[in-house]
Protein backbone atom coordinates (compact mmCIF):
# COMPACT_ATOMS: atom_id res chain seq x y z
CA UNK A 1 0.00 0.00 0.00
CA UNK A 2 1.39 3.34 -1.00
CA UNK A 3 1.76 5.71 1.78
CA UNK A 4 2.83 8.87 0.02
CA UNK A 5 2.33 12.43 1.02
CA UNK A 6 -0.97 13.97 0.12
CA UNK A 7 -0.51 16.15 -2.93
CA UNK A 8 -2.69 19.30 -2.90
CA UNK A 9 -4.23 18.34 -6.17
CA UNK A 10 -4.58 14.73 -5.15
CA UNK A 11 -8.29 15.10 -4.63
CA UNK A 12 -8.78 17.00 -7.82
CA UNK A 13 -11.06 15.17 -10.23
CA UNK A 14 -9.56 14.30 -13.51
CA UNK A 15 -11.49 13.09 -16.57
CA UNK A 16 -11.13 9.41 -17.00
CA UNK A 17 -14.05 8.63 -19.32
CA UNK A 18 -15.72 10.69 -22.04
CA UNK A 19 -19.39 11.57 -21.57
CA UNK A 20 -20.36 9.18 -24.35
CA UNK A 21 -18.87 6.36 -22.40
CA UNK A 22 -20.72 7.34 -19.28
CA UNK A 23 -23.97 7.24 -21.20
CA UNK A 24 -23.10 4.07 -23.02
CA UNK A 25 -22.12 2.35 -19.82
CA UNK A 26 -25.23 3.47 -18.01
CA UNK A 27 -27.53 2.37 -20.81
CA UNK A 28 -25.71 -0.89 -21.10
CA UNK A 29 -25.90 -1.52 -17.38
CA UNK A 30 -29.54 -0.64 -17.03
CA UNK A 31 -30.46 -2.69 -20.09
CA UNK A 32 -28.48 -5.61 -18.78
CA UNK A 33 -30.36 -5.69 -15.52
CA UNK A 34 -33.66 -5.09 -17.23
CA UNK A 35 -32.93 -8.00 -19.51
CA UNK A 36 -31.94 -10.04 -16.54
CA UNK A 37 -35.14 -9.33 -14.66
CA UNK A 38 -37.45 -9.75 -17.64
CA UNK A 39 -35.89 -13.12 -18.42
CA UNK A 40 -35.63 -14.36 -14.89
CA UNK A 41 -39.03 -16.07 -14.70
CA UNK A 42 -38.21 -17.83 -17.94
CA UNK A 43 -34.83 -18.92 -16.59
CA UNK A 44 -36.19 -20.52 -13.52
CA UNK A 45 -39.69 -21.16 -12.28
CA UNK A 46 -38.63 -19.79 -8.90
CA UNK A 47 -39.24 -16.31 -10.28
CA UNK A 48 -42.59 -16.96 -11.91
CA UNK A 49 -44.11 -14.40 -9.55
CA UNK A 50 -42.40 -11.79 -11.72
CA UNK A 51 -44.78 -12.48 -14.61
CA UNK A 52 -47.70 -10.51 -13.18
CA UNK A 53 -45.30 -7.67 -12.42
CA UNK A 54 -44.02 -7.65 -15.98
CA UNK A 55 -47.40 -7.92 -17.62
CA UNK A 56 -47.52 -11.61 -18.16
CA UNK A 57 -45.28 -13.70 -20.39
CA UNK A 58 -46.19 -11.56 -23.37
CA UNK A 59 -45.30 -8.39 -21.45
CA UNK A 60 -42.05 -9.86 -20.22
CA UNK A 61 -41.21 -10.93 -23.75
CA UNK A 62 -41.97 -7.50 -25.13
CA UNK A 63 -39.90 -5.74 -22.45
CA UNK A 64 -37.08 -8.17 -22.97
CA UNK A 65 -37.03 -7.36 -26.65
CA UNK A 66 -37.20 -3.64 -26.09
CA UNK A 67 -34.26 -3.82 -23.70
CA UNK A 68 -32.47 -6.13 -26.09
CA UNK A 69 -32.50 -3.36 -28.65
CA UNK A 70 -31.41 -0.83 -26.04
CA UNK A 71 -28.66 -3.20 -24.98
CA UNK A 72 -27.15 -3.03 -28.43
CA UNK A 73 -27.14 0.78 -28.71
CA UNK A 74 -24.08 1.64 -26.48
CA UNK A 75 -21.67 0.30 -29.06
CA UNK A 76 -23.08 2.71 -31.57
CA UNK A 77 -23.18 5.59 -29.10
CA UNK A 78 -19.50 5.12 -28.49
CA UNK A 79 -18.67 4.69 -32.13
CA UNK A 80 -20.51 7.83 -33.08
CA UNK A 81 -19.72 10.15 -30.21
CA UNK A 82 -16.36 8.98 -29.09
CA UNK A 83 -14.72 6.73 -31.61
CA UNK A 84 -11.34 7.68 -30.25
CA UNK A 85 -12.13 6.28 -26.87
CA UNK A 86 -13.69 3.21 -28.42
CA UNK A 87 -10.54 2.36 -30.33
CA UNK A 88 -8.35 3.08 -27.36
CA UNK A 89 -10.43 0.72 -25.34
CA UNK A 90 -10.18 -1.94 -27.99
CA UNK A 91 -6.46 -1.45 -28.26
CA UNK A 92 -6.11 -1.84 -24.52
CA UNK A 93 -8.04 -5.06 -24.65
CA UNK A 94 -5.69 -6.67 -27.07
CA UNK A 95 -2.52 -5.40 -25.41
CA UNK A 96 -1.31 -7.87 -22.82
CA UNK A 97 2.00 -7.69 -20.99
CA UNK A 98 3.73 -9.49 -18.15
CA UNK A 99 2.49 -7.03 -15.59
CA UNK A 100 -1.08 -7.95 -16.48
CA UNK A 101 -0.42 -11.41 -15.15
CA UNK A 102 1.22 -10.11 -12.01
CA UNK A 103 -1.83 -8.04 -11.44
CA UNK A 104 -4.01 -11.04 -10.83
CA UNK A 105 -2.12 -12.40 -7.83
CA UNK A 106 -2.12 -9.00 -6.27
CA UNK A 107 -5.76 -8.48 -7.16
CA UNK A 108 -6.89 -11.51 -5.23
CA UNK A 109 -5.15 -10.13 -2.18
CA UNK A 110 -6.72 -6.76 -2.74
CA UNK A 111 -10.11 -8.27 -3.27
CA UNK A 112 -10.14 -9.98 0.05
CA UNK A 113 -8.58 -7.04 1.82
CA UNK A 114 -5.05 -8.40 2.34
CA UNK A 115 -1.90 -6.42 1.80
CA UNK A 116 -1.07 -5.98 -1.84
CA UNK A 117 1.11 -3.82 -4.00
CA UNK A 118 -0.02 -1.86 -6.99
CA UNK A 119 1.27 -3.34 -10.17
CA UNK A 120 1.64 -0.46 -12.56
CA UNK A 121 -1.23 -0.48 -15.05
CA UNK A 122 -2.09 1.46 -18.14
CA UNK A 123 -5.58 2.91 -18.79
CA UNK A 124 -7.22 -0.32 -17.81
CA UNK A 125 -5.88 -2.78 -15.38
CA UNK A 126 -5.80 -6.43 -16.31
CA UNK A 127 -8.90 -7.12 -14.24
CA UNK A 128 -10.88 -4.52 -16.07
CA UNK A 129 -9.57 -5.84 -19.34
CA UNK A 130 -10.66 -9.32 -18.46
CA UNK A 131 -14.02 -7.92 -17.41
CA UNK A 132 -14.34 -6.06 -20.68
CA UNK A 133 -13.27 -9.00 -22.78
CA UNK A 134 -15.65 -11.39 -21.09
CA UNK A 135 -18.48 -8.91 -21.16
CA UNK A 136 -17.96 -8.17 -24.81
CA UNK A 137 -17.79 -11.86 -25.67
CA UNK A 138 -20.87 -12.55 -23.60
CA UNK A 139 -22.68 -9.63 -25.18
CA UNK A 140 -21.87 -10.92 -28.64
CA UNK A 141 -23.00 -14.40 -27.65
CA UNK A 142 -26.20 -13.15 -26.14
CA UNK A 143 -26.98 -10.72 -28.93
CA UNK A 144 -26.27 -13.13 -31.75
CA UNK A 145 -28.09 -16.03 -30.14
CA UNK A 146 -30.84 -13.65 -29.12
CA UNK A 147 -31.39 -12.82 -32.76
CA UNK A 148 -31.82 -16.47 -33.63
CA UNK A 149 -34.29 -16.85 -30.80
CA UNK A 150 -36.23 -13.76 -31.73
CA UNK A 151 -36.41 -14.63 -35.41
CA UNK A 152 -36.24 -18.41 -35.50
CA UNK A 153 -37.88 -18.49 -38.91
CA UNK A 154 -34.77 -16.98 -40.52
CA UNK A 155 -32.26 -19.46 -39.17
CA UNK A 156 -31.70 -23.18 -39.48
CA UNK A 157 -33.19 -25.08 -36.57
CA UNK A 158 -29.83 -26.28 -35.31
CA UNK A 159 -28.61 -22.69 -35.07
CA UNK A 160 -31.71 -21.71 -33.13
CA UNK A 161 -31.34 -24.72 -30.88
CA UNK A 162 -27.70 -23.87 -30.14
CA UNK A 163 -28.81 -20.29 -29.78
CA UNK A 164 -30.69 -21.24 -26.64
CA UNK A 165 -27.58 -22.80 -25.15
CA UNK A 166 -25.33 -19.90 -26.09
CA UNK A 167 -27.81 -17.36 -24.80
CA UNK A 168 -27.77 -19.26 -21.59
CA UNK A 169 -24.01 -19.57 -21.44
CA UNK A 170 -23.46 -15.95 -22.41
CA UNK A 171 -25.89 -14.76 -19.85
CA UNK A 172 -24.68 -17.11 -17.13
CA UNK A 173 -21.08 -16.10 -17.59
CA UNK A 174 -22.00 -12.45 -18.00
CA UNK A 175 -24.01 -12.25 -14.84
CA UNK A 176 -21.29 -14.01 -12.87
CA UNK A 177 -18.70 -11.47 -13.97
CA UNK A 178 -21.09 -8.59 -13.51
CA UNK A 179 -21.70 -9.51 -9.92
CA UNK A 180 -17.98 -9.13 -9.29
CA UNK A 181 -17.76 -6.00 -11.40
CA UNK A 182 -20.57 -4.30 -9.54
CA UNK A 183 -19.20 -5.35 -6.21
CA UNK A 184 -15.82 -3.92 -6.94
CA UNK A 185 -17.15 -0.65 -8.20
CA UNK A 186 -19.86 -0.03 -5.71
CA UNK A 187 -18.84 -1.82 -2.56
CA UNK A 188 -15.16 -2.68 -2.49
CA UNK A 189 -13.34 0.06 -0.74
CA UNK A 190 -10.22 0.11 -2.91
CA UNK A 191 -11.91 0.36 -6.21
CA UNK A 192 -14.99 2.22 -5.01
CA UNK A 193 -13.57 5.66 -5.75
CA UNK A 194 -13.53 4.69 -9.39
CA UNK A 195 -17.28 4.46 -9.27
CA UNK A 196 -17.62 8.16 -9.91
CA UNK A 197 -15.79 7.51 -13.14
CA UNK A 198 -18.76 5.80 -14.68
CA UNK A 199 -21.20 8.33 -13.25
CA UNK A 200 -19.49 11.61 -13.99
CA UNK A 201 -16.58 10.44 -16.08
CA UNK A 202 -14.19 11.86 -13.50
CA UNK A 203 -12.17 10.21 -10.78
CA UNK A 204 -9.89 11.53 -8.03
CA UNK A 205 -6.42 12.10 -9.36
CA UNK A 206 -4.69 10.18 -6.59
CA UNK A 207 -6.85 7.16 -7.21
CA UNK A 208 -6.22 7.27 -10.90
CA UNK A 209 -2.54 7.53 -10.36
CA UNK A 210 -2.59 4.63 -7.94
CA UNK A 211 -4.61 2.39 -10.12
CA UNK A 212 -3.47 3.38 -13.60
CA UNK A 213 0.00 4.73 -13.04
CA UNK A 214 1.30 4.34 -16.56
CA UNK A 215 -1.71 6.00 -18.10
CA UNK A 216 -1.69 8.76 -15.53
CA UNK A 217 1.95 9.50 -16.05
CA UNK A 218 1.49 9.63 -19.78
CA UNK A 219 -1.32 12.10 -19.43
CA UNK A 220 0.84 14.14 -17.09
CA UNK A 221 3.51 14.26 -19.77
CA UNK A 222 0.91 15.55 -22.18
CA UNK A 223 0.07 18.17 -19.58
CA UNK A 224 -3.45 16.96 -19.07
CA UNK A 225 -3.23 15.89 -15.46
CA UNK A 226 -1.48 17.37 -12.43
CA UNK A 227 1.86 15.77 -11.71
CA UNK A 228 1.35 14.29 -8.31
CA UNK A 229 4.99 13.22 -8.20
CA UNK A 230 6.19 16.80 -8.59
CA UNK A 231 8.70 17.08 -5.75
CA UNK A 232 7.81 20.67 -5.00
CA UNK A 233 4.37 19.62 -4.19
CA UNK A 234 5.71 16.81 -2.15
CA UNK A 235 7.62 19.17 -0.14
CA UNK A 236 4.76 21.44 0.51
CA UNK A 237 2.53 18.66 1.61
Amino acid sequence: MSNHQQHPKANEKIRRFPKAFVWAHAINGIAFFALYITALPMYTEFFDWLYPVLGGPAGARLLHRIFAVIFITPTFILLIFSPKFFFKWMKELITWKKRDLEFFSEFVKELFGFNFKHVKQTFFNAGEKINSVIQILCAILVIVSGFTMWFPGFFPRAIVQWGYVLHNVGFGLGIAVIVGHVYLSVVHKHSRPGYSGVVTGKVPAWWAKGHYTEWYDEEVKKGNFPDLDDPKHKKGA
Binding site: M42, Y51, G113, R157, Q161, W162, F171, G172
Partner: protein
Protein backbone atom coordinates in the same frame (compact mmCIF):
# COMPACT_ATOMS: atom_id res chain seq x y z
CA UNK B 1 -46.18 -46.80 -13.78
CA UNK B 2 -49.50 -47.31 -15.39
CA UNK B 3 -49.75 -49.14 -18.70
CA UNK B 4 -48.15 -47.30 -21.57
CA UNK B 5 -50.21 -46.86 -24.68
CA UNK B 6 -49.17 -46.49 -28.25
CA UNK B 7 -50.82 -45.29 -31.43
CA UNK B 8 -49.72 -47.58 -34.21
CA UNK B 9 -49.86 -46.09 -37.70
CA UNK B 10 -49.72 -48.72 -40.41
CA UNK B 11 -49.20 -46.67 -43.56
CA UNK B 12 -49.85 -49.70 -45.76
CA UNK B 13 -53.47 -49.62 -44.67
CA UNK B 14 -54.00 -45.89 -45.01
CA UNK B 15 -56.00 -44.84 -48.04
CA UNK B 16 -55.49 -41.14 -47.48
CA UNK B 17 -59.10 -40.24 -46.76
CA UNK B 18 -58.16 -37.58 -44.19
CA UNK B 19 -61.00 -38.44 -41.85
CA UNK B 20 -58.37 -38.35 -39.09
CA UNK B 21 -57.76 -34.69 -39.83
CA UNK B 22 -61.42 -33.80 -39.64
CA UNK B 23 -62.09 -35.94 -36.57
CA UNK B 24 -59.20 -34.22 -34.82
CA UNK B 25 -60.53 -30.75 -35.59
CA UNK B 26 -63.99 -31.82 -34.54
CA UNK B 27 -63.02 -33.26 -31.18
CA UNK B 28 -60.48 -30.59 -30.34
CA UNK B 29 -62.61 -27.79 -31.73
CA UNK B 30 -59.89 -26.41 -33.94
CA UNK B 31 -60.59 -23.80 -36.59
CA UNK B 32 -59.98 -24.33 -40.28
CA UNK B 33 -56.93 -22.67 -41.77
CA UNK B 34 -56.78 -23.09 -45.52
CA UNK B 35 -53.30 -22.68 -46.91
CA UNK B 36 -52.21 -21.55 -50.35
CA UNK B 37 -52.42 -24.04 -53.17
CA UNK B 38 -49.51 -26.38 -52.61
CA UNK B 39 -49.30 -27.99 -56.02
CA UNK B 40 -50.17 -31.34 -54.52
CA UNK B 41 -53.15 -32.92 -52.87
CA UNK B 42 -51.71 -32.18 -49.45
CA UNK B 43 -53.71 -29.54 -47.63
CA UNK B 44 -51.15 -28.29 -45.12
CA UNK B 45 -47.38 -28.30 -45.37
CA UNK B 46 -47.02 -29.58 -41.85
CA UNK B 47 -48.80 -29.67 -38.54
CA UNK B 48 -49.70 -26.31 -37.10
CA UNK B 49 -51.19 -24.97 -33.90
CA UNK B 50 -54.66 -25.45 -35.35
CA UNK B 51 -54.00 -28.54 -37.44
CA UNK B 52 -52.61 -31.20 -35.18
CA UNK B 53 -52.39 -33.90 -37.73
CA UNK B 54 -51.70 -33.63 -41.42
CA UNK B 55 -51.99 -36.34 -44.00
CA UNK B 56 -48.88 -36.36 -46.12
CA UNK B 57 -49.08 -37.39 -49.77
CA UNK B 58 -45.78 -38.38 -51.28
CA UNK B 59 -45.14 -39.35 -54.88
CA UNK B 60 -42.11 -41.56 -54.71
CA UNK B 61 -40.39 -43.47 -57.46
CA UNK B 62 -38.89 -46.53 -55.86
CA UNK B 63 -35.69 -48.36 -56.74
CA UNK B 64 -37.43 -50.27 -59.50
CA UNK B 65 -38.69 -47.07 -61.07
CA UNK B 66 -42.27 -47.79 -60.04
CA UNK B 67 -44.40 -44.97 -58.80
CA UNK B 68 -45.52 -45.24 -55.21
CA UNK B 69 -48.09 -42.89 -53.78
CA UNK B 70 -47.47 -42.85 -50.07
CA UNK B 71 -49.79 -41.59 -47.37
CA UNK B 72 -48.76 -40.82 -43.82
CA UNK B 73 -50.79 -39.55 -40.94
CA UNK B 74 -48.33 -37.19 -39.28
CA UNK B 75 -48.78 -35.85 -35.79
CA UNK B 76 -46.97 -35.66 -32.45
CA UNK B 77 -44.81 -38.70 -31.70
CA UNK B 78 -45.21 -38.45 -27.94
CA UNK B 79 -41.55 -39.30 -27.34
CA UNK B 80 -40.54 -41.23 -24.28
CA UNK B 81 -37.63 -38.80 -24.00
CA UNK B 82 -39.32 -35.66 -25.21
CA UNK B 83 -37.13 -32.71 -26.12
CA UNK B 84 -40.09 -30.38 -25.67
CA UNK B 85 -40.53 -31.54 -22.11
CA UNK B 86 -36.82 -31.10 -21.48
CA UNK B 87 -36.54 -27.55 -22.76
CA UNK B 88 -39.76 -26.16 -21.39
CA UNK B 89 -38.68 -23.45 -18.92
CA UNK B 90 -42.03 -23.51 -17.17
CA UNK B 91 -42.43 -27.24 -16.69
CA UNK B 92 -45.63 -26.83 -18.68
CA UNK B 93 -44.95 -29.99 -20.67
CA UNK B 94 -45.22 -33.31 -18.94
CA UNK B 95 -45.78 -37.01 -19.47
CA UNK B 96 -49.23 -38.31 -18.70
CA UNK B 97 -49.87 -41.68 -17.10
CA UNK B 98 -50.63 -43.02 -20.59
CA UNK B 99 -47.19 -42.09 -21.85
CA UNK B 100 -48.52 -39.19 -23.86
CA UNK B 101 -46.81 -35.82 -23.79
CA UNK B 102 -49.13 -33.01 -22.85
CA UNK B 103 -48.93 -29.26 -22.54
CA UNK B 104 -50.45 -27.52 -19.54
CA UNK B 105 -51.77 -24.30 -20.97
CA UNK B 106 -52.08 -22.71 -17.55
CA UNK B 107 -48.31 -22.89 -17.32
CA UNK B 108 -47.32 -22.39 -20.94
CA UNK B 109 -45.92 -18.91 -21.54
CA UNK B 110 -45.57 -19.27 -25.28
CA UNK B 111 -41.78 -19.00 -25.34
CA UNK B 112 -41.55 -21.44 -28.24
CA UNK B 113 -38.53 -23.34 -26.96
CA UNK B 114 -40.43 -26.58 -27.48
CA UNK B 115 -41.30 -25.53 -31.02
CA UNK B 116 -37.64 -25.09 -31.91
CA UNK B 117 -36.42 -28.21 -30.19
CA UNK B 118 -38.95 -30.79 -31.32
CA UNK B 119 -36.97 -33.21 -33.49
CA UNK B 120 -40.11 -33.85 -35.56
CA UNK B 121 -41.23 -30.23 -35.85
CA UNK B 122 -44.79 -30.95 -34.77
CA UNK B 123 -45.27 -28.23 -32.17
CA UNK B 124 -46.41 -24.73 -33.10
CA UNK B 125 -47.15 -21.48 -31.38
CA UNK B 126 -50.39 -19.67 -31.78
CA UNK B 127 -51.32 -16.15 -30.80
CA UNK B 128 -54.59 -15.70 -28.97
CA UNK B 129 -56.38 -12.69 -27.55
CA UNK B 130 -57.88 -12.69 -24.12
CA UNK B 131 -61.16 -10.97 -23.37
CA UNK B 132 -59.40 -7.68 -22.82
CA UNK B 133 -57.89 -7.89 -26.26
CA UNK B 134 -54.48 -8.68 -24.85
CA UNK B 135 -52.38 -10.97 -26.97
CA UNK B 136 -50.78 -14.09 -25.63
CA UNK B 137 -49.20 -17.16 -27.14
CA UNK B 138 -49.59 -20.83 -26.43
CA UNK B 139 -47.79 -23.76 -27.84
CA UNK B 140 -50.04 -26.38 -29.42
CA UNK B 141 -49.81 -29.92 -30.66
CA UNK B 142 -51.62 -33.24 -30.75
CA UNK B 143 -52.58 -34.36 -27.27
CA UNK B 144 -53.27 -37.93 -28.36
CA UNK B 145 -56.72 -36.97 -27.08
CA UNK B 146 -55.52 -37.53 -23.53
CA UNK B 147 -58.87 -36.10 -22.42
CA UNK B 148 -60.57 -38.95 -24.27
CA UNK B 149 -58.14 -41.52 -22.89
CA UNK B 150 -59.07 -40.41 -19.40
CA UNK B 151 -62.67 -41.27 -20.22
CA UNK B 152 -61.70 -44.68 -21.52
CA UNK B 153 -62.09 -43.66 -25.16
CA UNK B 154 -59.55 -43.86 -27.95
CA UNK B 155 -58.05 -40.88 -29.75
CA UNK B 156 -60.53 -39.31 -32.17
CA UNK B 157 -58.37 -40.05 -35.21
CA UNK B 158 -58.14 -43.72 -34.28
CA UNK B 159 -61.86 -44.03 -33.68
CA UNK B 160 -62.65 -42.61 -37.09
CA UNK B 161 -60.07 -44.56 -39.09
CA UNK B 162 -62.03 -47.00 -41.18
CA UNK B 163 -59.17 -49.15 -42.45
CA UNK B 164 -57.54 -49.63 -39.03
CA UNK B 165 -54.44 -47.92 -40.35
CA UNK B 166 -54.54 -46.20 -36.97
CA UNK B 167 -54.78 -48.40 -33.92
CA UNK B 168 -54.36 -47.56 -30.29
CA UNK B 169 -53.57 -49.90 -27.46
CA UNK B 170 -51.19 -51.37 -24.99
CA UNK B 171 -47.60 -50.65 -26.00
CA UNK B 172 -46.38 -54.24 -26.05
CA UNK B 173 -49.38 -55.38 -28.00
CA UNK B 174 -48.94 -52.64 -30.57
CA UNK B 175 -45.24 -53.35 -30.92
CA UNK B 176 -45.94 -57.01 -31.48
CA UNK B 177 -48.52 -56.09 -34.07
CA UNK B 178 -46.04 -53.83 -35.81
CA UNK B 179 -43.45 -56.60 -35.93
CA UNK B 180 -45.97 -59.01 -37.35
CA UNK B 181 -47.09 -56.53 -39.97
CA UNK B 182 -43.50 -55.79 -40.90
CA UNK B 183 -42.81 -59.45 -41.57
CA UNK B 184 -45.91 -59.61 -43.76
CA UNK B 185 -44.99 -56.67 -45.94
CA UNK B 186 -41.22 -57.11 -46.16
CA UNK B 187 -41.61 -59.12 -49.34
CA UNK B 188 -43.48 -56.39 -51.13
CA UNK B 189 -41.61 -53.50 -49.53
CA UNK B 190 -37.98 -54.45 -48.91
CA UNK B 191 -37.28 -51.07 -47.31
CA UNK B 192 -40.14 -51.42 -44.85
CA UNK B 193 -39.32 -50.63 -41.25
CA UNK B 194 -40.78 -49.87 -37.87
CA UNK B 195 -40.24 -46.28 -36.89
CA UNK B 196 -39.88 -46.09 -33.15
CA UNK B 197 -36.68 -44.08 -32.87
CA UNK B 198 -34.37 -44.92 -30.00
CA UNK B 199 -32.78 -41.47 -30.00
CA UNK B 200 -35.85 -40.13 -28.23
CA UNK B 201 -36.26 -43.20 -26.08
CA UNK B 202 -38.90 -44.64 -28.40
CA UNK B 203 -42.20 -42.96 -29.20
CA UNK B 204 -45.86 -43.41 -28.44
CA UNK B 205 -46.83 -42.90 -32.06
CA UNK B 206 -45.17 -45.75 -33.86
CA UNK B 207 -45.15 -46.29 -37.59
CA UNK B 208 -44.95 -49.20 -39.93
CA UNK B 209 -43.37 -47.51 -42.95
CA UNK B 210 -42.94 -49.00 -46.40
CA UNK B 211 -39.94 -46.87 -47.26
CA UNK B 212 -37.03 -45.35 -45.44
CA UNK B 213 -38.05 -42.64 -42.96
CA UNK B 214 -36.41 -39.95 -45.08
CA UNK B 215 -38.80 -40.73 -47.94
CA UNK B 216 -41.57 -39.61 -45.61
CA UNK B 217 -39.60 -36.54 -44.63
CA UNK B 218 -38.79 -38.06 -41.25
CA UNK B 219 -35.36 -37.86 -39.64
CA UNK B 220 -33.55 -41.20 -39.91
CA UNK B 221 -32.07 -40.93 -36.44
CA UNK B 222 -33.94 -38.31 -34.50
CA UNK B 223 -32.76 -37.53 -31.03
CA UNK B 224 -33.15 -34.98 -28.34
CA UNK B 225 -30.98 -32.16 -29.76
CA UNK B 226 -27.48 -32.22 -28.26
CA UNK B 227 -27.88 -28.50 -27.72
CA UNK B 228 -30.90 -29.17 -25.52
CA UNK B 229 -28.89 -31.63 -23.46
CA UNK B 230 -25.95 -29.24 -23.15
CA UNK B 231 -28.30 -26.44 -22.31
CA UNK B 232 -30.56 -28.12 -19.83
CA UNK B 233 -28.22 -30.67 -18.30
CA UNK B 234 -25.04 -28.61 -18.22
CA UNK B 235 -25.17 -24.95 -19.14
CA UNK B 236 -28.13 -24.01 -17.02
CA UNK B 237 -27.08 -25.84 -13.84
CA UNK B 238 -23.52 -24.65 -14.25
CA UNK B 239 -24.74 -21.14 -14.94
CA UNK B 240 -26.78 -21.19 -11.78
CA UNK B 241 -23.79 -22.52 -9.91
CA UNK B 242 -21.59 -19.78 -11.31
CA UNK B 243 -23.93 -17.05 -10.21
CA UNK B 244 -23.97 -18.72 -6.87
CA UNK B 245 -20.19 -18.97 -6.80
CA UNK B 246 -19.54 -15.34 -7.73
CA UNK B 247 -22.16 -14.19 -5.31
CA UNK B 248 -20.50 -16.24 -2.63
CA UNK B 249 -17.12 -14.79 -3.59
CA UNK B 250 -18.46 -11.27 -3.38
CA UNK B 251 -20.11 -11.90 -0.07
CA UNK B 252 -16.93 -13.56 1.16
CA UNK B 253 -14.89 -10.61 -0.04
CA UNK B 254 -17.14 -8.18 1.74
CA UNK B 255 -16.86 -10.06 4.98
CA UNK B 256 -13.12 -10.64 4.88
CA UNK B 257 -12.58 -7.03 3.88
CA UNK B 258 -14.47 -5.86 6.89
CA UNK B 259 -12.69 -8.21 9.25
CA UNK B 260 -9.26 -7.44 7.90
CA UNK B 261 -9.74 -3.73 7.71
CA UNK B 262 -11.04 -3.69 11.28
CA UNK B 263 -7.93 -5.57 12.34
CA UNK B 264 -5.73 -3.18 10.44
CA UNK B 265 -7.64 -0.23 11.78
CA UNK B 266 -7.03 -1.54 15.26
CA UNK B 267 -3.31 -1.83 14.54
CA UNK B 268 -2.72 1.28 12.54
CA UNK B 269 -5.31 3.54 14.01
CA UNK B 270 -7.22 4.14 10.88
CA UNK B 271 -4.16 4.82 8.72
CA UNK B 272 -5.87 3.14 5.84
CA UNK B 273 -8.40 4.57 3.55
CA UNK B 274 -7.99 6.83 0.64
CA UNK B 275 -11.05 8.90 1.11
Amino acid sequence: MATEYVKLVDVTKCDGCRACMVACKNWNDLPAEPEEFSGTVQSHKKTTADTWNVLQYIEHENGKGDLEYLFRHSSCFHCTDAACEKVCPENAISYSKFGTVVIDHDKCVGCGYCVQNCPFEVISLKEYKDKNGKEYKLSQKCTMCTDRLEEGLQPACVTTCHTNALEFGNKDEMLAKAEKRLSEIKGKFPNANIYNPKGVGGTHTIYVLTEKPSVYGLPENPKVPTSAVVWKDYAQPIGKMMIGATTMAVVGAFITNNIISKRIKGKEDGGEGHE
